[in-house]
Amino acid sequence: MKIPYFPGCTMKTTAKNFEMSAIASAKKIGIEFVEIPRWNCCGVVSSLTSDDLMKHLAPVRNFLRVQEMNKAEAVSENRLLTLCSMCYNTLSLTNNRMKENADELQKINDFMHREDENYAGSVDVVHFLSILDEWGFDKLKIENPLKNLKVASYYGCMLLRPKEVGIDDPEAPQIMEKLVTAMGAESVEWDAKSRCCGSYHTVKNIDLVKKLVSGIINDARENGAEAIITSCPLCAFNLDVRQKEMAVKNSDFQTMPIFYFTQLLGIALGLEKSDLGLEFNAINPNEILKKYEKIKGAK
């Protein structure tokens, strides 16, 4: 499978470990990510104003790139794959809106008059987790099962809500849990899996974010988890970086490693440690990973 891939800005800055582990895992499975040329920022937060179409141009431009790639037969998929939950959400919401409102799509195409070809509304946006599910979690060739590792799957908001674009049941999601089980690890059930991490309050209201992050980590721990996985760079930043700050301030604070799901997947698939970007994780994950010394290239 050769699938058009939309990285989004964080994959190139704060979430390099997500991107490198995802691309390497996908390659091992047999999925090639083809980064779309000249992609632009998705717009970050999907605009809820009903009459400001300008905010939806950014996603549509990226869909046009996918349309062009298909025309050039550079890919085997008319779907746009994302890793970042926020990009997934923003791109999906605009795409749905364009598919459902022919007049709005026309207006956007008119805006790009003499610039690009028209967007036909035929591209679908898909998250890597859904692709893995479709591929079949049970078909993954697990070379290094994460035996006894207790993992809490953290969804946050953007993968699940609103439900029209959610990749799973927004109330009781199971897709990441299925992946955890497939990797040979133990999936933990917990309350906070779709609780908000504080999102962009992390810029101005750090104390609020720390409070929310404490709640999420405590809930994971109370339910027996040793690690948390996520697919959102902003959730990861809040859970990982803000947690580390709390640990630095308070030496009694017991830390919990935060992983992108692709980092654990990479370990389970038997990838080299250098493919996983673990050195970019704020809370040192090496202690917990010691048990899985089969990680190639681990010191």
Partner: protein
């Protein structure tokens, strides 16, 4: 033979100017004395940013007055200066990453990818693409894409997000040049040669030439790229 004339509208006023004139030539033919909005007249300096619309077209286009030839019915106005915000910085204190732009040019993150900047650029630069490169921290790409920018300011004048693209571009190039680009030993060698006076005699010779001689050696020069 009588020179064919075309009708143009300069800041809304009708004039007949010779066919084939550039916008700057048309302005001067019409009697305007240009103090601003004109510079090198060679397409390098970016001082003569002009907005125009051609007859029968709805699009407002950007161009350099010295490089754009008038057409019948063209409506023209010049933008000699863009009163955009311009932060000052010490390059030595900056780091070549996206955080520098967050601090100095937070407006860059307002980009909605409308591409209006690209359409306004007289240099045919993919302006939006370099703004997007900056947003994702790829300063090498931003420096390369924006390389031909002459800071005419038309992108910023048209931008609905009020981004000052050209100032972002030059900062990307400065950061790339100072911190990221591969260092060239040839440059150090050449600076050393200059310091040691290797070219003093040549400079002396050039200084004594009159305009015609200087022009001849300039256009006859050979550039060797090895």
């Amino acid at each position: 033979m009588e020179k064919k004339m075309v009708t143009v509208y300069l800041s809304g006023e009708l004039f007949k100017v010779p066919e084939g004139s550039t916008i700057i030539m048309a302005l001067e033919y019409a009697g305007f004395q240009l103090k601003r909005g004109v510079g090198c007249r060679e397409g390098y300096c970016g001082a003569c940013a002009t907005v125009y619309r051609e007859k029968g077209d709805y699009k407002l286009k950007g161009g350099l007055g010295c490089q754009t030839v008038v057409t019948e019915g063209m409506a023209i106005t010049q933008i000699p200066f863009v009163p955009a915000e311009k932060p000052l910085y010490e390059l030595e204190t900056l780091t070549p990453d996206v955080g520098t732009f967050t601090n100095l040019f937070p407006s860059v993150f307002r980009c909605v990818a409308c591409n209006t900047c690209t359409k306004a650029c007289p240099q045919d630069i993919q302006v939006m693409d370099y703004i997007q490169s900056i947003i994702r921290g790829d300063l090498e790409s931003a420096a390369n894409i924006s390389f031909d920018c002459i800071r005419c300011g038309l992108c910023a004048m048209r931008c609905p997000a009020e981004i000052v693209q050209y100032d972002n571009g030059i900062l990307a190039r400065r950061l790339y040049g100072k911190y990221l680009a591969k260092k060239s030993p040839e440059l150090d060698n050449r600076v050393e040669e200059v310091k040691n006076g290797k070219y003093d005699a040549d400079i002396e010779k050039l200084n004594k030439m009159d305009r015609d001689e200087l022009s001849k050696v300039y256009y006859d020069r050979e550039i060797k790229i090895t």
